[in-house]
Amino acid sequence: MFELMGAEVSEESRCHRQLEIGADDREQLLVSFLEELLFIADSEELAFDGYMLRLVDTNLQARLEGGLIISRSKEIKAVTYHYLEIKESKRGLKTSIIFDV
């Protein structure tokens, strides 16, 4: 999502965040997680490039590392459920998700 946004992150002002999110199903959990990141990006101008994720059923614990956004080229308005799909693959979970831009 941050790549799509074209977010350039400062290397000088590194920061960490911890998030805990629960949802009724996996799709909702993914959307809620990305919505959380989008809100942080818009309200605090922070983007993340390091992720430690622990998924138990439909609960997620995330430790995030990132920094202040220096610039971004695209506005993402929202994370949508449209044609949202999460699949198991050999390398883990794979998703296709659509953002409103």
């Binding site: 818009d42 308005k77 949508t80 459920y81």
Partner: protein, 483 residues
């Protein structure tokens, strides 16, 4: 999957998808388009999405599809669906994330010929005066109380703060505010996103454009609107910014549970909805109206800033540098209206997503000077191409819930456009054609290239041909400021 062969031809500009096409359809779909436009429309999933919209509980009449339709999220952009009060549903996805995204047109008596050499200066002045770009805040920083007032009073709040005139507010759809907004139903997150963004354009396809009246089709309507051939106008396209995006996000999430609670089965999760008379439906309606009022206020502030910049840039170089407001119109909105449906007058919530209201002559909600001619309909083209001013007709009231198209409509995704068009080259091409460009980013400019959109003239031919709008003037761009 809905196919083009499922369309039944009703006339040169009207097509129907009957309920027999899919068993879960509650009403048919009516598409306004010429035969030549069908192939492009059939290339994406927009007709499938219109059929999905026809399954919404309480949907009445027909789901309408405008010729500028393209694939949206859940609901097609260019779609209209009316659901009946009180048991029909309201769906945030059928209104859109950018609640009350819309267009405002200001017009002047300044002739392009008088000031032709000043378009660069004018573009720079507008760019400097109107904050734009990704996530950018403006000069206003609203506290909680002011934000609440803006969300309750809309354009009138902005006018009282010194932005604009009474005439601006009167010449705005619904007088610049929707009654029944409920700020208490707006989340703290939406409030936080909304506070710094009042009076800002944003990014994406939002723009401020200087246009010249290129051709007049209806002399009388143009005269009433103060539009004269050869004179400059300013068009502003933007919406409710992060405030509206967050309101929609909050309620799409909240309605995931509501559909389970009310036993609503849907073909796409993005269409989640709740009955209009349910606590969830009422809460969204109140919050959506607050966001709509935020957008009216936002365009009012921007119009004021643009008006000042226009006057400043051209003062002493042209006789009358005042910009008067022609109209302001929403194209992502849910409105409570009454319509004749199946021989009876029925109260409905008309969801218009990428579609405008287009009420015909005689409608009392119009400013008195516009009642004889009908409601102005503003149709921006793609960047560098024409825009149009139309008026609603009696036919639009009977055939399309008083609705019309909202623009050109994409044919190419943003990603495709960025891959095949170079922003810098596009800028040069536009400048060679005499169109001055100010853009936040070159890739962003490429995404909005005219090649990525349908021909707006063909879109307008289709709605005029179908009789749901009448042409008034065609506008040609001379300067573009892109977020």
């Amino acid at each position: 999957m809905v196919q083009l062969r499922d369309l039944q031809r009703l006339g040169p500009y009207e097509w129907k998808i009957p309920t027999s096409v899919r068993s879960d359809m509650r009403v048919p779909v009516r598409l306004f388009a010429s035969g030549e436009m069908l192939e492009a429309i059939g290339r994406d999933a927009s007709l499938e999405q219109a059929v999905n919209a026809a399954t919404l509980p309480g949907v009445v009449g027909e789901v309408l599809v405008m010729p500028d339709v393209h694939q949206g999220y859940g609901f097609p952009i260019g779609g209209v669906a009316a659901t009946e009060y009180p048991k029909g549903v309201i769906s945030p996805g059928a209104i859109g994330y950018d609640i009350n995204c819309g267009v405002r047109l200001l017009a002047s008596r300044v002739e392009l010929e008088e000031v032709k050499g000043l378009m660069d200066e004018l573009a720079s002045a507008l760019d400097a005066a109107c904050p734009s770009g990704v996530g950018k805040g403006g000069r206003l920083r609203l506290d909680e109380h002011e934000l609440e007032r803006a969300c309750r009073e809309g354009g009138e709040w902005a006018r009282r703060e010194g932005f604009g005139t009474q005439s601006d507010v009167a010449r705005t759809e619904e007088g610049g505010f929707l009654d029944g907004s409920d700020f208490s139903k707006v989340s703290p997150r939406a409030r936080e996103r909304g506070r710094p963004q009042m009076g800002t354009l944003g990014a994406g396809n939002h723009f401020i454009e200087v246009e010249v009246v290129d051709e007049v089709f209806d002399e009388e309507a143009a005269r009433v609107m103060g539009l004269s051939e050869g004179c400059l106008t300013v068009m502003i396209h933007c919406g409710s910014r992060g405030f509206g995006h967050q309101v929609c996000t909050d309620y799409v999430r909240r309605f995931q549970k509501a559909v389970q609670k009310y036993g609503i089965r849907l073909p796409d999760r993005e269409l989640v909805c709740a009955p209009l008379d349910s606590p969830e439906g009422q809460a969204y309606e109140g919050a959506m109206r607050a966001a709509a009022n935020y957008a009216f206020a936002n365009r009012q502030v921007l119009a004021h800033l643009a008006r000042e910049a226009f006057a400043e840039a051209l003062r002493g170089r042209a006789k009358n540098v005042h910009l008067h407001q022609v109209y302001d119109i929403a194209h992502n909105m849910g409105k409570t209206e009454e319509h004749d449906i199946g021989g009876a007058r029925r109260k409905v919530c008309v969801h218009r997503k990428g579609a405008t209201r287009a009420f015909g002559p005689g409608f009392e909600g119009l400013p008195p000077e516009y009642r004889p001619i009908g409601q102005p309909v503003l149709v921006p083209g793609s960047m560098g191409t024409a825009s149009w001013v139309l008026v609603g007709t009696e036919k639009s009231m009977a055939r399309s819930f008083g609705s019309c198209c909202h623009g050109a409509g994409r044919t190419m995704s943003r990603r495709q456009a960025k891959r095949s068009i170079h922003g810098g080259e596009l800028r040069r091409e536009l400048e060679e054609r005499g169109i001055k460009v100010r853009a936040g980013s070159m890739p962003g400019l490429a995404e909005e290239a005219p090649q990525a959109y349908k021909d707006v003239d063909a879109v307008v031919e289709a709605v005029a041909g179908a009789g749901i709008a009448k042409k008034v003037v065609r506008l040609r761009p001379v300067a573009v400021v892109k977020g």
